[in-house]
C-alpha cells in the first residue's frame, strides 16, 4: 500500500528533524558510561554524588564557580543528602563577606547552609586573567548547557591526549579529543589520586570523572529524581485513563455503529 510507506517515511522524517541541535560534525563519538540517573527509573547514586561533591570542591572549584547552588541544597532530598550537621560543617569551612554591620562595615564570617557556594574569582575578568584568557564556565547549569550533557563532561575529563605531531598548540592550550576543535584551555584537571575518598573507593581518573559528572548533573537538574518518579506515576495513570476513555468511546459509538 503506497499510502502506508508514505506515512512511515513522514514519521521517520519527523523524528530525525525535530531536534534543533546539530550533531557534532567530525568530532569523536562521546564516551557513554552507564549512569545511574539514565533511563525511566533513573536515580542518583548518593555515594557517588557525595564523592562527586568532594571532587568538585577539592579540584574543580579552584577555577569553576557554581553560583546558583546553596550549601543547604546538599542536604536536600534527591541530592547528595548529606545530613544537616554535615552540611553545616561543609558550609562553615568557607568564608563569606557579610554586612554592613551597625558600624557600616563589611565583615567576614563563616558560611551558613543558606549561603551560596563560594566562587573562586570575584568576577569573570578575574577568572579569565587567571586562566590565560579562557573563562571556566559556571557549573550550575553546565550539564544542560552542552550537547551530550553528562556524556560530554565525562568525555572531556577523559579526553586529554598528547597532541598529534602535525598540530602545534600554544602554551596553556591542551589537546582534548572530545572538545570541538580539539583544543581546550583547561589543563587536565583530574590525575590519579587527586582526591582521597573517605569511603575507601579507589580514586582512579575514571572513578573521579564519573562521580563529578554525576554531581554536576544533579547540580544542573536537582529535581531529576522527583521528575522521573512523578513522570512514571503520571504515565501509568494516563495509560489507565486512556484505556478507559477508549472503551467508553467504543461503547458510545457501538450504539450507532452496528457490529459487522
Amino acid at each position: 500500500m503506497p499510502n502506508m510507506s508514505k506515512l512511515i517515511l513522514l514519521l521517520f522524517l519527523v523524528f530525525f528533524n525535530i531536534s534543533p541541535s546539530i550533531s557534532a560534525e567530525d568530532s569523536e563519538k562521546l564516551l557513554n558510561p552507564k549512569f545511574s540517573f539514565d533511563g525511566i527509573f533513573g536515580k542518583f547514586d548518593r555515594a557517588s554524588l557525595q564523592r562527586g561533591y568532594q571532587v568538585y570542591t577539592e579540584v574543580c572549584s579552584a577555577c569553576h564557580s557554581m553560583s546558583l547552588l546553596n550549601y543547604r541544597n546538599l542536604s536536600q532530598q534527591g541530592g547528595p543528602e548529606f545530613t544537616e550537621e554535615e552540611t553545616k560543617a561543609i558550609a562553615s569551612k568557607f568564608e563569606v563577606e557579610d554586612g554592613p554591620n551597625q558600624n557600616g562595615e563589611m565583615f567576614k564570617r563563616s558560611s551558613k547552609p543558606s549561603d551560596h557556594f563560594k566562587s573562586p574569582f570575584p568576577n569573570e575578568q578575574a577568572a579569565r586573567a587567571a586562566n590565560g584568557g579562557a573563562y571556566p564556565p559556571d557549573m550550575s547549569t553546565l550539564a544542560k548547557a552542552r550537547e551530550g550533557g553528562p556524556s560530554y563532561i565525562y568525555s572531556i575529563l577523559l579526553g586529554y591526549e598528547k597532541s598529534p605531531k602535525n598540530i602545534k598548540l600554544e602554551d596553556g592550550v591542551y589537546y582534548n579529543k572530545f572538545k570541538p576543535g580539539n583544543s581546550i584551555k583547561m589543563p587536565k584537571p583530574l590525575n590519579k589520586d587527586a582526591v582521597k575518598y573517605s569511603d575507601g573507593t579507589e580514586a582512579s581518573v575514571e572513578q573521579m570523572a564519573f562521580d563529578v559528572t554525576t554531581f554536576l548533573t544533579w547540580a544542573s537538574d536537582p529535581h531529576l529524581e522527583e521528575r522521573k518518579k512523578t513522570g512514571f506515576k503520571t504515565i501509568i495513570f494516563l495509560l489507565i485513563v486512556s484505556a478507559l476513555a477508549y472503551f467508553v468511546k467504543k461503547k458510545t459509538w457501538s450504539r450507532i455503529e452496528p457490529k459487522m
Binding site: T141, R146, G149, R227, L238
Partner: protein
C-alpha cells in the same frame, strides 16, 4: 423612508423590546439565570444538541486539543510570570530559581516550554488537515483566515517567549530576528532601534518582549473565540468533503464527539508527558542554558524547531530584504489558498493528483526544516532554493492548474454513502484518514 423616520420625534409608533428576558429551555434556577444571561442555552444548543458529521476522524480532535494547550499555556505562563523577572541581569537566574526553589517550579516551567512545542505540533497537524480535506473552501474561508492570523500570532508569542529566559539563544535569536527589520528600505534602521528601545538588544528589549509575549498570547484567545463562533455558523467539514443532509450523516456532539475527543486528548497528553518528564530539554537548544553574553556569538544560531522551514527560506536568498519577503509570504501563501484552489471538490480523497502534490509539499516542509538547522553553505543552500521553489510553485502554479485540469474520482452522494463505500473498500484511504 420609514427607517429614517424611526425615532422618538416620528409620528409612526412601533413597539420596542429593550428587554429580551425569557426564552430559556431550562427551568428553575438554571432557567432564571438563562432568561437573563443566555449562556446556558448557548452551551446547550452549540455543544449538547450540536450536530457534527459522522465521518470525522481523529484529525478533527486537534482543535479541541489546541484549546486545551492554549488554556494550559496560559495557566502555566501566568504562574511563571509570578516568579519571573524581566530584566537582563535577573531573567536567567530567575528562571533557574523557578526550576530549583519554587515548589513544583520545574514542572511548571518544563510544562510551559514543552507545551509551546506541542502547541505547534498540533497546529501543524491541524493545518495539514485543512489542506488535505479542503476545509479552506466555501463557506469556511474566513475560518481559515482567522486560523492563519492565529498562526502568525502564535509564532510572535513563541519567538518573544523564547527570548525571556535570556540564554545565549534567546539573546542571539532576538538579535538576528529583530535585525531583519533593518532590511526595510529607508526606515529599517529606525524601526529596529524603536523595537529595541535602545541601540542594541538589551534590558529594555527584554522588558517589552515580556509584556508583548503575554499580551499577544491573550490576543490569541480573542481570535480563537471568533474562530469557534465562525465554526458554529459554518459547521465542520469532514473527510468526504460532502455536507451532511440528514440524520444518517451526523451524530450529536455529546456524547459521540466528546468521547472521541477525550480519548484523543489523553493520548496527546500521554506523549506530551513523556517528553516533559523524560526529555524536557530535547526540543530546546543546550546553548540556552548559558547566560546571554553579547560578546560571545554561538557557533550556530538556530531558532526553535517550528521556525526552521521559514529560517531555511530566509537564508536561501542572498538579499536580506527579498529573504524576509520570501519568508513572510511563504506563510501568507496559505491565506490565498481558498482563492487559488478552484476545484469544487473539497476532499483530496477524491483528488488523486492533487493528493500527490500535497504529499510532496509535506516532504518539502520537512526538507526545509532539516535545511534550517544546517549551516547556510554549499549544497544546503542549493537544496533550500529547490525547497523554496517548490513551496511557491505549489501555491501559485500547481494548485490552480491541477484544480482546473484534474478529473476527480466518482463521488458518493452523501456522507452515509461515503461511509458505506469505505467499508466496502471502494474508497482507499489509510485507516486514520
Amino acid at each position: 423612508m420609514t427607517e429614517k423616520n424611526f425615532n422618538s420625534d416620528s409620528e409612526i409608533i412601533k413597539p420596542v423590546h429593550t428587554s429580551k428576558v425569557g426564552g430559556s429551555p431550562f427551568k428553575g434556577v438554571a432557567g432564571w439565570i438563562d432568561n437573563r444571561l443566555p449562556i446556558l442555552r448557548i452551551f446547550k444548543y452549540e455543544y449538547l444538541d450540536f450536530q457534527v458529521p459522522k465521518s470525522l476522524n481523529y484529525f478533527w480532535s486537534l482543535g479541541g486539543i489546541l484549546m486545551v494547550c492554549l488554556i494550559f499555556l496560559i495557566i502555566t505562563g501566568v504562574t511563571l510570570g509570578m516568579h519571573y523577572k524581566p530584566s537582563s541581569s535577573e531573567a536567567f537566574n530567575s528562571v533557574e530559581k523557578i526550576m530549583r526553589d519554587v515548589n513544583f517550579g520545574w514542572l511548571i516551567r518544563y510544562a510551559h516550554m514543552n507545551l509551546a512545542s506541542f502547541f505547534f505540533i498540533a497546529v501543524y497537524l491541524h493545518i495539514f488537515r485543512g489542506l488535505y480535506y479542503g476545509s479552506y473552501k466555501e463557506p469556511r474561508q474566513l475560518m481559515w483566515l482567522l486560523g492563519i492570523i492565529i498562526f502568525f500570532m502564535m509564532m510572535a508569542t513563541a519567538f518573544l517567549g523564547y527570548t525571556l529566559p535570556w540564554g545565549q539563544m534567546s539573546y542571539w535569536g532576538a538579535t538576528v530576528i529583530t535585525n531583519l527589520f533593518s532590511a526595510i528600505p529607508v526606515v529599517g534602521k529606525f524601526i529596529v532601534t524603536w523595537l529595541w528601545g535602545d541601540y542594541a538588544v538589551g534590558d529594555s528589549t527584554l522588558n517589552r518582549f515580556y509584556v508583548l509575549h503575554w499580551l499577544i498570547a491573550f490576543g490569541i484567545v480573542g481570535i480563537v473565540v471568533f474562530h469557534v463562533i465562525a465554526l458554529h455558523i459554518v459547521g465542520s467539514n469532514n473527510p468526504s468533503g460532502i455536507e451532511p443532509v440528514d440524520t444518517r450523516d451526523t451524530v450529536s456532539f455529546a456524547p459521540y464527539t466528546t468521547s472521541k475527543d477525550l480519548f484523543a486528548m489523553l493520548v496527546f497528553l500521554l506523549i506530551f508527558v513523556l517528553f516533559m518528564m523524560y526529555i524536557p530539554n530535547y526540543l530546546g537548544h543546550p546553548d540556552n542554558y548559558i547566560p546571554a553574553n553579547p560578546l560571545v556569538t554561538p557557533a550556530h544560531i538556530v531558532p526553535e524547531w517550528y521556525f526552521l522551514p521559514y529560517y531555511a527560506i530566509l537564508r536561501s536568498i542572498p538579499n536580506k530584504l527579498l529573504g524576509v519577503i520570501a519568508m513572510v509570504s511563504s506563510i501568507a501563501m496559505l491565506g490565498l489558498l481558498p482563492w487559488l484552489d478552484l476545484s469544487k471538490v473539497r476532499s483530496s480523497v477524491f483528488r488523486p493528483i492533487w493528493k500527490q502534490f500535497i504529499f510532496l509539499f509535506v516532504l518539502d516542509f520537512f526538507l526545509l526544516m532539516y535545511l534550517g538547522k544546517m549551516p547556510p553553505e554549499g549544497v544546503y543552500v542549493i537544496l533550500s532554493r529547490i525547497g523554496l521553489a517548490y513551496w511557491f510553485m505549489f501555491f501559485l502554479i500547481i494548485t490552480p492548474l491541477v484544480s482546473i485540469m484534474e478529473t476527480p474520482l466518482q463521488m458518493p452522494n452523501s456522507i452515509h454513502e461515503y461511509e458505506d463505500w469505505k467499508k466496502k473498500g471502494k474508497i482507499k484511504t489509510l485507516k486514520i484518514f
